[in-house]
Amino acid sequence: MDTFLSTLLTMSVTAALVAGIVMLLRLVLRPLPRWITCALWGVVFLRMICPVGLSLPVSLVPQAITSGAYVQHLLPAEPGPAQETVPVQDTPAPAEHTLSAGDGTPPAPAAPADIPRPALLTGVWAAGAGAALLWAAVSYARLRWQVAEAVPVEKGVYESDRVSTPFVCGLLRPRIYLPASLPAEDRHYVLLHERAHLHRRDHWTKPLAYLALCLHWFNPLLWLAYRLFCRDVEAACDQAVIRPLGREDTARYAATLLHLGCRSGFPAAVPLAFGTEDTKGRIRAVLSYRRPALWLILATAAACLAAGLFLLGDTNGRLEGRPVDEGMVFSYGETLPLPEPLLEELLALCNRYDGDLEPMSSLSFETDTRILLSGKKDHWEIFRGDHPLLVHTTSSGGKDRESQPYRMTGQLEQAYLAWEASLEEYLWVTRPDTLYTRRGCSLQTKQAAEQVLEELNLRAFTGPYTVEVFQGESPDPTILTVYLDTPPVLATDAARLIPYLDLASSALFALDDTLFYIDWTFGAQGSLHGTGSYMTYPDGLSGQDTPPQTQEAFRETYRQMKQAGSAAQITLFGRYRDTEQVLYCAPGYDGPFPLEAGRSHGIFSELWSDVFALTSFSDSQGVHYDTPYYRWQPQAANDQLTRYGVDPAQHQGEARWCIVENVFTQDTGYRLYEWDGNVFLGYTTPGQPAGPLSFLVQLESTPH
């Protein structure tokens, strides 16, 4: 959705509504001094040029209008990326992948390869605005030509025989131009009128108003508003002239109006013609002018000031009058900010249907928060139960919080569910689609790779990482290495992480055809003690299906990745955040295993090799000692294990521990723990029996 166009449309509709209100007020304000009405037109002008109003808790303009949520129905949505045309591949035309499995439904039409609609509409708008400006420029130039030969009469006043009606022209040094054949008496009153224009700075306000109108050239109501504004300006000047005059002079002024009203008129855009429109109306107004009482003027001015202020107000970004600074959505373990348009829509519907909020006395169940809206002193949580629930919490004086839960019913519930559907669309269609448009843009530089991984939100699931890209020789295969700083420590974590990494890899291979393989390495770069790594390949050696090549398939992979990721969130054993050693032990392996041909060593054998290597050697006679030697210690290790994060509730009895020794090194530093059949391996400084562990990992095997 094009932000510029939607902002413009919202402004235009809002301004039109305000103009409509002012037009109604104008009828009421007729007997009162016209400058008040002109001031109200100023409010319309502000709404035409300012995209946002004053943030007020209450506004005379309904939020349904100012939030601009309807705009997306007026403007066409952006089409999908043009890459849906057939990619250059030998595989059968991928367009057929969009067919649902063989049921013959026609594929979704490929996005048309023409200019995107928003750009076209913006072009049309620019052309229209340009035409309106051009017309004003041409009129102005014509005028200047006409008065080039005007001769001065008095200071600032000129006359010309090419001019048929008096007017004011010029911004910085405005001049009054009079027709040459103007009778002296008429001239006197005309000058009074034109000088009133100058005094009121109308030679500035009318062109400014016209400029604003050019921006909104497509809005007919605003053209009408401009015409009425011009009339009000003339009327205000008439009133300024006759205010100090007596009855006779007023009659003469009316006569002047009559004399000049018989001539041909100028187009309204041209600055400040004497105005031959509506001569009858003006004469009538002049003759029937009665100055109202001062108190009435002051009261009306005050009321209009208030009305003007509230017409400028926006209640956007507020829920029940309180400001909302941001919205977050929780989805599959990720916390994402709500995009502005969605947030505005949500606030708008909550405000519109606030009658359908049923207060509850207490929350009868707990479930995960779906949406969180935060303000300075309030926050609102929305979560799904049988009905969607809204919990409003206010903090009063710091820590104390009062929570009021509400159930969303009726129209509010329906509107919310409809809104949630568009949220889902954003999360699962718009976001992956945006990512997919990068396809082919390569992960070939570090920055590009980092950005893509950032957008996949890898960090939410794997913790911090660093990225390295290696470019091989032609045809430039790329190797992506991701160093995950935070190692999973428990084998059970591994079981969850592997499928997640498979899916993430699948998504990455879909985005970049040149990726040769991805090396997921556990441990910071350059760490010495056996980093583990998990390699993923695009052609399925890691056991995955062919990576998706269509946008729809990518979307699905993305969704699965997020779902898998929520299970894969790595929980560290508390103290090991700065561990250098990365050990990773996959389930089901009870020892060093041979690399099978064709399989990636997707499992971490380093652990066992490390231990095994330390505990085996060959002496000079070629005798091979390969049995680690364990001596179980008598003291229980429950506390030790608990301290390092093992849940005592899951295990019964007493844990035992031992130092792993080999023939040469009595203390290799490794410790084995066994608790209730579960075996753990830890490492500490050799020589310290009960020293602090630098890691602890659960093994799936039993020691030999």
Binding site: A148, E149, A150, V151, E159, D161, R162
Partner: protein
Amino acid sequence: MKSPPSLSLADHRLLDLVWSSEPISSPQLCKLAQAQLGWKRTTTYTVIKRLCDKGCLKNEAAVVTSLVDRATVQQADGQEVLQRSFHGSLPSFLAAFLRAGSVSDQEAAEIEQMLEEYRQSH
């Protein structure tokens, strides 16, 4: 001489300037017009050219002189007003002023004197 073509207000004013300052170089005339009328140089040159085309001015070697005198122009102006508004009738023209009562006693005496002189010379 042939009857001068009708002159616009601008033409009149420039002619005024030329009558009061001729012969005058065209650049100086421009300066004068700028000072007294607020005209741009291009405007002044346009009017000069127009008056030359109408046969009222001569612009040779950047020196401007007039080809008609004030009296001729006044007479032509008067004829034009007479023709346009009073169907060429001088009595109607005078009657307009007399009816409005806008002729003072002194002016009436002057007019009587002029008529007397006119009668006597024809």
